[in-house]
């Protein structure tokens, strides 16, 4: 065993011990405050919904209409990320008194099949983060985000396709991916099929069952947003189309917001080795390396679902998100001590700009003369 290898292993052991210690400390802290937090969020979300939908319903002019959109958006935003995403990670599973916030009971107010999400997002993306052909979120849909992946002519259009088509409906897209429909599309339409992409499998589940779940998860949102509330408005003498338009705007903006939050915190980061799971310490390092945070206040962090603390979220995905800002200080301290880079963009804007640049770069075929070095391998090594 050469010295560098021994040093590496020592680092892994050290990192594992330190991050596990942080995790245990925060697990021990879980208690009534977390229950109160998630219940409080639900209450706020409900109030925002009441105000927002009420305004959309009766608004006679653009100002009240815009306020209606804003409040409904707040409701949809809280429900989809700070509540929904975190609850589906099982962050509140250990509290018996709130079964409605247990990951297997929870129903998302989003067009996403929960089991499909848990299997793809929790079980694949969070385990094999940024691993080539193993992380389905690394290049979902038709996206190409690294040199390793074969280029085809469709990638030339990825920037406009994603900015104008995919992002306003990103959750619908994730749903299709989680249930395995995106890989079918690529298999049929890409010259090299799914090479470079990570398919999602559902053993023991038939195609018909998946299609049914897909339909059910979408139609509940469609029914509520685009049928129930517009018809209620119509039945009480208000405008069907105005409510419909308001809800469409909310859906679109909410999806866009989510896209820009999550895409800009992973996809700019390097590919990771696939065998990292063999050592917990190595795995922690790949999680550290495959994510990048961006700065924001604690209040704004709630609206980003605390995904601006992507590093902490990936290190400890089932610790309730309200602890991430505190955990971040401890993680930074560990990184500093070991000389590990702790990546953080100064603002959301910087994160988005970096992301756009990368998306643009990989929409073109690799240059023939360039030494296309795979970006694999942790940067710290």
């Amino acid at each position: 065993m050469n010295p560098t290898c021994a040093e590496r292993l020592a680092l892994y052991d050290q990192i594992e011990a330190e991050f596990e210690a942080i995790k245990q400390r925060y697990r021990a802290k879980l208690g009534p405050a977390d229950v109160a937090y998630i219940k409080g969020l639900r209450l706020k979300s409900r109030l925002a919904e009441l105000v927002g939908r009420g305004l959309l319903w009766i608004s006679p002019e653009p100002i009240t209409f815009s306020l209606g959109v804003a409040f409904t958006l707040l409701h949809r935003n809280l429900e989809s990320i700070e509540i929904g995403h975190n609850v589906l990670h099982g962050q509140y599973d250990s509290f018996a008194e709130i079964p409605q916030f247990h990951s297997h009971n929870f129903k998302w107010k989003a067009p996403v099949d929960e089991e499909g999400w848990r299997r793809e997002h929790n079980g694949l993306h969070h385990v094999h983060t940024n691993v080539y052909e193993m992380d389905p979120d690394l290049n979902h849909g038709i996206l190409r985000m690294n040199d390793k992946q074969p280029w085809n002519s469709m990638h030339r259009w990825q920037v406009p396709v994603y900015l104008f088509v995919a992002y306003p409906i990103v959750l619908y897209g994730f749903n299709a991916q989680n249930l395995g429909f995106r890989q079918t599309y690529r298999a049929e339409n890409f010259p090299l099929g799914n090479e470079g992409y990570a398919p999602v499998h559902h053993p023991g589940v038939t195609e018909a069952q998946l299609k049914r779940r897909h339909w059910l998860s979408i139609s509940r949102v469609m029914f509520k947003e685009y049928l129930l509330f517009p018809v209620l408005a119509l039945a009480t003498g208000f405008s069907f189309w105005k409510v419909m338009l308001g809800n469409m705007l909310v859906d679109g903006i909410n999806n866009y917001w989510i896209s820009l939050t999550i895409q800009a915190t992973h996809l700019t980061e390097p590919l990771q080795p696939e065998d990292a799971l063999k050592h917990k310490g190595h795995w922690y390092l790949t999680q550290l390396d495959s994510s990048v945070n961006f700065k924001g206040s604690r209040t704004m962090s709630i609206l980003w679902g605390h995904l601006n603390y992507q590093i902490e979220h990936h290190l400890f995905p089932d610790i309730p998100s309200r602890h991430y800002p505190d955990i971040a200080l401890e993680v930074q301290e560990v990184c500093q001590r070991h000389g590990l880079p702790y990546k953080c963009n100064p603002t959301w804007f910087h994160a988005i700009r970096n992301y756009m640049a990368v998306m643009w770069k990989f929409s073109f075929p690799p240059k023939a003369d360039a030494n296309s070095q795979p970006t694999e391998g942790a940067r710290h090594a």
Binding site: H89, R118, R119, G123, H126, L277
Partner: protein, 372 residues
């Protein structure tokens, strides 16, 4: 008043709409208000509505129950745990299930002198009330043998009743050769009297034994005095050809086993049922023997029985090895994908409150119920 109306609406909804659709609507509209207003449907728990109370015999009542959308059916012969809200505490009891049409089932309860639960059920449990129940359990089910004898006493007749009723719905050519011997103390205590008559008409050989009778007092050919080896042989000459399903009070079962042993019956063909009482938790320092232990994945309605080979495996590995379609991720306790909740029983290893990380936890009790 409101309760009655709600019970009626709930019953109607469950009768008209498929359970999966009820579940789809209910789970997607699970607000605090709905849970408070109509806790029978808007709940994460399996509950049953009392639809009818029937007097079977003095001190014996049958309760017809309508489970909510979380019910996934049962095998005739299985039993169910019922949670009774008696005063401040919740008392748990097990009862055999009898299938009824349209998704209902019934439990038959005999009032015992000091039985807190049976007394409460006889006096306080009324039509329109909701009870929390468990998922059906037990292996006391007909296993396809061609010749069977159901040997039961007292309220032990209920699982047999359930199995025989189910078997009688099969066409005569496919039905096994069924014989029933049921013992009661006296004629007035016979449970399912009319059903027993009906079975006799349907071609089942039914013998009703009354332990209070002497051999001289017996006046009908299908009536017997207290069952013993001689009576068993007299009423069931082909005893050795039959698989025997035995259920009743502990004393009765012990006696019957002795008699059957005396008659050279292969005890491997005697299937018994005891209503299980919650066992004490396994001590943590002893090595837990997995062979024979059961794990029930309630959310998937899948039960697995562990073998010697499962010794030392994690709960996740056990599940996957037995073909359970569990969600899983890193297998190291970091991503939390495999987490489930311990509903009953004990586990060791990675546990947070009642949330258990299957990939890094192990079974630690004979009976373990995990739920989503």
């Amino acid at each position: 008043m409101l309760d009655r109306a709600l019970a009626r609406v709930n019953g109607w909804a469950l009768d008209t709409v498929q359970p999966q659709w009820v579940d789809y609507v209910v789970s997607n509209t699970m607000t605090d208000f709905n849970r408070w207003f109509n806790g029978f449907l808007w709940t994460y728990e399996l509950k049953a509505l009392v639809e009818q109370v029937i007097d079977e015999a003095p001190g014996v009542k049958t309760f017809v129950l309508r489970p909510n959308q979380h019910w996934r059916g049962f095998q005739p012969g299985q039993h169910v745990e019922v949670f009774l809200p008696i005063g401040e505490e919740t008392v748990r009891r097990y009862y055999s299930l009898s299938a009824l049409p349209k998704g209902r089932f019934s439990i038959t309860v005999k009032q015992t002198e000091h039985g807190q639960a049976s007394r409460w059920m006889h006096q306080a449990l009324r039509v329109g009330m909701n009870l929390r129940i468990g998922h059906p359990q037990g292996h006391f089910c007909h296993q396809g043998q061609a010749k069977v004898l159901f040997l039961c006493a007292g309220s032990g007749i209920t699982p047999c009743h359930s199995m025989v009723s189910a078997l009688l719905t099969q066409p005569e050519s496919e039905r096994p050769d069924i014989q029933v011997m049921a013992q009661f103390r006296q004629a007035s205590e016979v449970i399912f009297w009319e059903t027993l008559q009906q079975w006799a008409q349907d071609g089942v050989k039914v013998t009703t034994a009354l332990s209070g009778l002497t051999a001289e007092q017996v006046c009908l050919p299908d009536l017997a005095p207290r069952l013993d080896a001689a009576q068993l042989q007299k009423h069931c000459p082909d005893l050795l050809d039959r698989d025997i399903y035995l259920c009743g009070p502990t004393g009765f079962m012990a006696q019957m086993i002795e008699h059957l042993r005396g008659l050279n019956v292969d005890l491997g063909r005697v299937h018994t049922e005891r209503f299980v009482v919650a066992e004490p938790p396994a001590s943590s320092d002893a090595v837990f023997e997995t062979a024979g232990a059961e794990v029930f994945f309630q959310h998937l309605n899948t039960r697995i029985t562990l073998t010697q080979e499962d010794q030392g495996k994690t709960l996740l590995q056990l599940g996957l090895d037995h073909g359970v379609l569990l969600e899983s991720g890193c297998c190291q306790g970091m991503c939390g994908t495999c987490k489930l909740t311990v509903h009953e029983g004990q586990v060791s290893g990675n546990l947070l409150g009642k949330a258990v990380y299957l990939c890094t936890a192990y079974p630690a009790s004979r009976n373990l119920v995990l739920d989503a």
